[in-house]
């Protein structure tokens, strides 16, 4: 069974062909490293999977069921969550409020519905514990380290019990120690049976955590193979075009 199956996904913007005939499968609990140079079509592909825009042609299947996304909410409803590159966090709110942003837990007090902060703090605390992160639900995000901020962004995706988590350059702008933290977070997602698609420029990170590596070059999928059957040298060659196909 495949969790996510893309068949012949193509996307053009006017005369520009951003993606041509990309076919790709991701199994449950599998980490796929998606690599490619700037403009190779990585973010276009991710945006199609996340429902930001539909593909020009091709089909998406989730658990072998065809799906059509018109808005990001459609993708969310099918269990796809995204961790954005800038994490999309509000610095002025607490970790728990950020985890629940847009999906606040509410409770009734007489005729009015108010935000249920205790429930949110409790649930966010559980999620941080599952991620083995030392993030505290009541702390302001402003005062957090890069790794803790990642944990908040990832906990947000877990709230919806997702099937697939897309991560856009999660290790691009943080320190070495925090990178290790984030890679651990990705392993925890995998251990829970969640499929992760990791978009990254950083070769060591992808090789450390991905089960399989897919390489895009100028809108073409030029490689899709197990990490242990490849090497950083080969992937570099595939990204730059020094190696044609693998």
């Amino acid at each position: 069974m495949s969790r996510l199956k893309l068949s012949g996904i193509a996307k053009h913007f006017g005369a520009i062909q951003a993606l041509q005939g990309v076919s790709l499968e991701v199994a449950p609990g599998e980490v796929l490293g998606l690599m490619g140079d700037n403009g190779a079509g990585k973010s276009t592909l991710v945006k199609i999977i996340a429902g930001n825009f539909p593909p020009s042609s091709g089909t998406i299947r989730i658990d072998d069921k065809p799906v059509h996304f018109h808005r990001p909410v459609d993708a969310q409803d099918e269990g796809i969550e995204v961790v954005y590159q800038d994490l999309a966090l509000c610095d002025n709110l607490t970790a728990a409020s950020n985890v629940f942003l847009g999906r606040e837990a509410m409770r009734r007090v007489g005729p009015v519905r108010i935000i249920d902060y205790p429930a949110m703090n409790r649930r966010a605390g559980e999620l941080f514990r599952q991620l083995k992160s030392e993030t505290r639900p009541r702390d302001l995000v402003r005062k957090m380290s890069g790794g803790q901020r990642q944990a908040v962004a990832i906990a947000r995706t877990l709230l919806a019990e997702p099937k697939i988590v897309l991560m856009d350059e999660p290790t691009a702008a943080i320190s070495v120690r925090q990178v290790a933290e984030v890679l651990d977070l990705i392993r925890r997602l995998r251990d829970r049976g969640i499929s992760v698609i990791l978009i990254s420029h950083r070769m060591p990170d992808v090789f450390a955590v991905a089960d399989r590596i897919a390489v895009l070059r100028r809108g073409d999928l030029v490689a899709n193979k197990r990490t242990d059957a490849s090497s950083p040298e080969e992937v570099t060659g595939l990204i730059t075009g020094a190696i044609e196909l693998a």
Partner: protein, 329 residues
């Protein structure tokens, strides 16, 4: 032997004191209290019941709109059109009531006019994507002009059958407090709760903190922004009605440059012009400080021409303090 729990409880205990002293509102309130004390000692006119009555009523007008302004500023915007919304609302209710309409209906229509101003502001800012500064600056001019057209730029002092009721609502007092203060208390309490405990309040601060994030997490940012500008216009509308009753006559220069005092009050009270911060209590305390200072200038015999200088300096100093604070953390 000290256990880790002791250390934690002690640090939490220290937190309560440091949390209060860490609030900008605390220092502003302290400044207002000190100003009141020194005025009581320096003049024999400040602590008279007549003067205190005037101070509380005057500050209520600015404070009510400052609460609306706090919502706008906390969401990362600005509303320069509140002063003009005040005069437009006042003109609508005056013209309608002098034409024989009942207070209730005229007030409802006047508030409708205020909400319409906020709606137009919000639509242009949220859906057309224009900068709040430009839109509300344009509205500042447009709404006041509309008030002049409506009244033919004449003073109105006859309010038809409900004349006395209007004067009582805006200018009267109950239990020794002027009526605008009751409006302020009600609004202040309700909005303190709304800011903290409702989705609407949470989204105000989320949009001000990171608008992009708010959009990505599915918050209806555009709709929310429209309601925020409608709320600030609504507070201006309330003040327009109350001021009409208090003054007993309306001219088209009502509420002129009031937006500056309101923005100053909100900013002094801790609203962050970069968005994401602000409280209803802070807005009220900020307005209180401004009114006390303004009152003291008059009582100390300093020319009223200096008032603009003080308000302007206050805004700049408050923002400078905020910069220092955010640099330290």
């Amino acid at each position: 032997m000290t256990t880790i729990d002791d250390v934690i409880s002690r640090s939490e205990h220290r937190n309560i004191v440091s949390r209060i002293t860490g609030l900008p509102v605390f220092w502003v309130f302290l400044a207002a209290v000190l100003a009141c004390l020194s005025l009581t000692l320096l003049t024999d006119t400040f602590a008279t019941s007549r003067n205190l009555f005037n101070v509380t009523r005057n500050f209520a007008f600015v404070a009510i709109i400052a609460i609306g302004m706090t919502a706008v500023i906390a969401s990362g915007g600005i509303d320069l059109s509140v002063g003009s919304t005040v005069v437009l609302t006042a003109m609508v209710i005056s013209v309608l009531m002098s034409g024989g309409m009942s207070f209730a209906l005229a007030a409802a229509l006047a508030l409708g006019a205020a909400l319409a101003v906020g709606f137009v502001n919000g639509i242009l800012i949220a859906y057309v994507g224009m900068p709040p500064f430009v839109v509300t600056l344009g509205m500042l001019s447009a709404a006041r002009s509309l008030a002049m057209v409506l009244s033919n730029n004449k003073m109105i002092w006859e309010f038809g059958p409900d004349h006395q009721l209007l004067l009582w609502i805006g200018g009267g007092s109950s239990f020794g407090l002027p009526h605008p203060v009751f409006a302020l208390l009600a609004l202040g309490i309700v909005m303190s709760l709304v800011f903290r405990w409702t989705r609407w309040g949470q989204y105000v601060f989320a949009i001000g903190g990171n608008e992009q994030a708010a959009t990505l997490t599915g918050i209806p940012v555009k709709r929310q922004k429209v309601t925020i500008y409608m709320f600030s216009a609504f507070t201006a509308g309330i003040v327009g009605i109350l001021m009409t009753g208090w003054l007993g006559s309306v001219t088209t220069n009502l509420g002129q440059s009031m937006e500056l005092a309101v923005i100053a009050a909100a900013v002094i009270g801790g609203a962050n012009l970069a968005g994401g911060e602000g409280t209803a209590l802070g807005a009220v305390v900020g307005a209180l400080l401004i009114e006390v200072i303004r009152n003291s200038l008059i009582l100390l015999g300093i020319s009223t021409f200096w008032q603009g200088m003080f308000i302007g300096t206050f805004i700049i100093v408050a923002v400078a303090f905020d910069r220092l604070r955010s640099r330290r953390t």
